[in-house]
Amino acid sequence: MMNAAGILISGFFDLLLVPFRTLPHFWGLLFISLLSGLGMITVFRFASNQNKISMLRRRMGGEILGILLHLSNPGTVVKFAVKLIWSNTVYLMYILIPLILLAIPFMLVWGQLDARYGAAEMDKDDPVTVTVFFEDGLPARDNLEIGVSGLELMPPVLFIDTLDEVSFRILPDGNSLRNLQIEGVSVKVARTGDWNGCRILRGFDSGSSFSRLFSPWIVRVDGGPGSGWYSLPDIRYAVFGGHWSWIAVFLLFSSISAIAGAKIFKVKI
């Protein structure tokens, strides 16, 4: 069930990003960020009691004005201040429900963006270190079976007994989709497609599917050693002369779009 949901959500984002497949990563990230801001402000509008929020904002404005007008009268200032704190608390309660409702789609979008724009793809000159954690203890050095397709396996294989981990390096070999076979289990590595904005897989896990809804960069496997991760470097995006992580780009542009949406659609926040 969760697996199907995960496939559906990833498929939906793949569809959204179709026009950006041949463009640099930034444009897809920008589009999703702007869309998310607009989406969130729309959800907020329908999930919140706009009349109550509007009334509370007016009331709080009046209370601030009351404080400013009666600065010479401490008793009145205190009275207005207490009222203001109470109004503010009620206001926070009114926006809490839409925020809770927004949290889940927000986390889903966050996960999808992290999976697509958080890590760099494999570079042909730059080996990627793969670390595999064996839940049931390390196999004997001679018994470990690692196979690759679309990849080149670079020796040596490192065993860390104290962590029950094995590490090795891989390099892309050709443009095909890449797979690792560890202890008889096949897992995808890095790109899930050959377009810009596709998910970049950074690990695999045999655990529950629910958490992977929010971390779509991890591919689920049945059986096998346990879990593993690929050390792919972060991407920095050039915006306004700086070099930002995808998180900074997303927060900036989704906020801009949400504020603009609130202005255009007259949403009270």
Binding site: D126, P156, I160, D161, T162, S167, A238, G241, H243
Partner: protein, 657 residues
């Protein structure tokens, strides 16, 4: 204006602009291009010999068109001084760089001559936090106007890649990436970190890096704390640190470095790619980025893990290394991270025994390969104006491998014969670069190859301060103080002169230095006596003169000298140089000792003995070109109306003398 009139003008204007542009293109010549290759340390004698051996066919082509000329260098012939001569067209009396090291005239405290950091004006202190209210600044100490301003003022594009003595880069219209003089993130000229559990490696106290003792507590893991830049936001400026966990597998002879969420697997003998590190001044609020490369020297039986000096990240530089500021990030985006420090070849790691000859040469090759990538990138997009490109490899590698060229070197016999061809191979690499520059020529492109100085052997070290003490010019307080610095060893009230830096000697003047001993009216006579005495010093081991010329600075550079200028510049004879201890003011036991450091070549001697080279597609009309002439001469190739004031135009002027 009526709507119809506006539309008419709006419609006509672009057409008029196109017509004007077409008219211009008909009358103007194709874009002028000049490629200048600055090859630090290319020596005329070695170059000539390699050309005759057939190692440098492209240099031979260039020699055929403009001849191989000896290019007059600076006095003293040190790279920061020489390249400043090139940039400004004037000597150190104008640009103010006399040596790698200057000293405060009053306190005698030495400092790096090319740049300095100026702290923030105002700071708020809260507990042990220090919050600056204004930014710290880095100041370029080189004075004088760069020659390329005469080109950029006329709208001619100028790109200077890895330009020496230009950190922070000059503000202006030229595109500049700083080279020699750019520090690492610890503020030094290159300070490596070496993690080891081998106690024998931890005893040496030579400068150039930090040796960090680490220990495996039985879990095959070493916690390696990487010392970064100083944290000016904390009282006492402690170093910021990043922890790397190093997991070793001795059976596989490999290790994994886990650092800030990244894992890097390396086998013994391998180099990592550039690794980005974030040093937090205030966690999650203020941080600086650095890049470094790991090298696994050994895992079994002892861990020996080298980390390169922490370089300024060109993608997100913590200090200004390019002009415009996004030039370095543009390069990093296109080519990946690269060495940004001024001295990228880690000569200190070789001198200190951290690197073997082979390991050093491999690291030097990594540097050269990056530099070649930068060169290709810039050459491919060079359309118009001047492109200057600087190569440091020849200089630093000739310093380290002159011992294989000179049978007189004390290390000649003990150097592995496999490395006898190291210098030749580098010249050959540079020849390929010259070939690529020549291949990029069209009918309107000139190629100029120049070096700042040549090379000579450095077989014997002269302890200038010890000599001064032996001759009664300096008074050492006790024999215990000998190997300490001059501040601990010297009775200043009875000391007449002291040496500091590679070629500089200072009189301990009573009107300048604290507790100075020599009255101003006696200074010149003292200098004359010192000159005579220094020029008569002979090496008891060889019977040869140690110093060719001792130049009295005020005679050599008549005119007003800055207060920090040395009183005398020592021009050593071929085979000799000041010892490393002298450069920092120490007083070792012996006056002359064999130089057993792999740093076996030098140019910090008499300038007449180490001229640079000039190869050019433009024939020369003056017989004795000098580095100071190059700015004016290069500018003249563009036909600009106002040439820079310094130097002569060697390409067109007729020598009336």
């Amino acid at each position: 204006m009526k709507r119809r009139e506006f539309l008419k003008i709006a419609g006509l204007s672009p057409a008029a602009l196109i017509a004007m542009n077409a008219g211009c293109s008909r009358t103007s010549s194709p874009a002028r291009r000049v490629i200048v290759l600055g090859i630090d340390g290319m020596d005329p004698f070695l170059l000539n010999s390699f050309i005759h051996e057939g190692v440098m066919p492209n240099a031979a082509i260039l020699m055929a068109s403009g001849g191989l000329n000896r290019l007059g260098t600076s006095n003293p012939p040190q790279s920061p001084v020489a390249w400043s001569n090139f940039i400004t067209g004037y000597g150190p009396d104008v640009h103010g760089i006399f040596d790698f090291i200057h000293r405060d005239p009053s306190t005698r405290i030495p400092y790096l001559s090319t740049s300095r950091v100026i702290g923030p004006d105002r700071i708020i202190s809260i507990s042990d936090w220090r919050l600056p209210l204004s930014g710290a600044k880095v100041e370029l100490l080189r004075k004088g106007e760069p020659f390329w301003n005469s080109l950029t003022d006329e709208g001619i594009p100028v790109t200077m890649v890895k330009l020496p003595v230009d950190f922070p880069p000059d503000k202006g219209k030229a595109k500049i990436l700083s080279g020699l003089g750019t520090p690492d993130m610890r503020g030094s000229q290159g300070s490596f970190t070496f993690f080891t559990d081998d106690a024998r490696s931890i005893t040496d106290k030579t400068s150039g890096g930090i040796v960090v003792a680490v220990r495996d507590y039985g879990d095959n893991c070493y916690a390696c704390r990487i010392k970064g830049p100083e944290n000016s936001m904390r009282a006492g400026n402690p170093s910021m640190e990043v922890e790397a966990k190093v997991w070793v597998d001795r059976d596989a002879d490999a290790l994994r470095i886990d650092i800030q969420g990244e894992s890097i697997l390396l086998a013994a003998g391998e180099w990592s790619r550039w690794v980005r590190m974030r040093f937090d001044a205030i966690p999650n609020i203020s941080s600086v980025n650095a890049i470094g490369r790991f090298y696994v020297k050994e895992i079994t039986p002892k861990l020996k893990l080298y980390l390169s000096p922490l370089n300024i990240d060109p993608l997100n530089p913590a200090l200004p290394i390019s002009e415009p500021q996004d030039y370095s990030s543009d390069l990093a985006r296109n080519l990946g991270p690269f060495y940004t420090q001024g001295f990228p070849e880690d000569t200190k790691a070789l001198s200190r025994g951290i690197f073997s000859d082979e390991e050093y040469l491999h690291q030097a090759w990594l540097v050269l390969r990056e530099r070649l990538d930068l060169f290709h990138h810039e050459l491919n997009r060079f359309r118009e104006g001047m492109l200057f490109f600087y190569f440091s490899s020849l200089d630093l590698n000739t310093h380290m491998f002159y011992r294989v060229l000179d049978p007189g070197s004390p290390l000649y016999a003990s150097t592995d014969p496999r490395f006898k061809g190291a210098v030749r191979e580098l010249y050959s690499q540079i020849d390929r670069v010259i070939g690529e520059a020549l291949a990029a020529r069209d009918g309107n492109t000139e190629v100029i190859v120049l070096s700042d100085h040549g090379f000579a052997p450095f077989n014997r070290s002269f302890n200038l301060n010890t000599w001064l003490a032996h001759e009664g010019y300096a008074n050492i307080t006790s024999s215990h103080a000998r190997n300490q610095d001059m501040f601990a060893a010297i009775d200043w009230a009875s000391t007449a002169a002291y040496g500091l830096g590679l070629n500089c000697l200072y009189i301990n003047r009573s009107d300048r230095e604290e507790n100075g001993a020599v009255p101003p009216e006696q200074v010149y006579d003292l200098l004359l006596r010192l000159k005579q005495d220094l020029e008569s010093v002979t090496d008891p081991a060889t019977g040869r003169r140690v110093i060719s010329n001792a130049y009295i600075t005020s005679d050599f550079y008549p005119g007003t000298l800055p207060l920090f200028a040395p009183d005398m510049i020592i021009g050593y004879a071929r085979g000799y140089r000041s010892s490393w201890q002298t450069t920092l003011g120490s007083y070792p036991e012996d006056v002359l000792v064999d130089n057993l450091d792999p740093w076996s070549g030098t140019h910090c001697i008499d300038p007449g003995l180490v001229p640079g080279i000039l190869l050019s597609t433009v024939p020369l009309s003056l017989p004795d070109p000098n580095l100071m002439d190059m700015g004016k001469s290069i500018s003249s190739l563009f036909g600009v109306p106002v040439l820079p004031p310094g130097g002569r135009n060697i390409f067109t002027e007729v020598n009336s003398g």
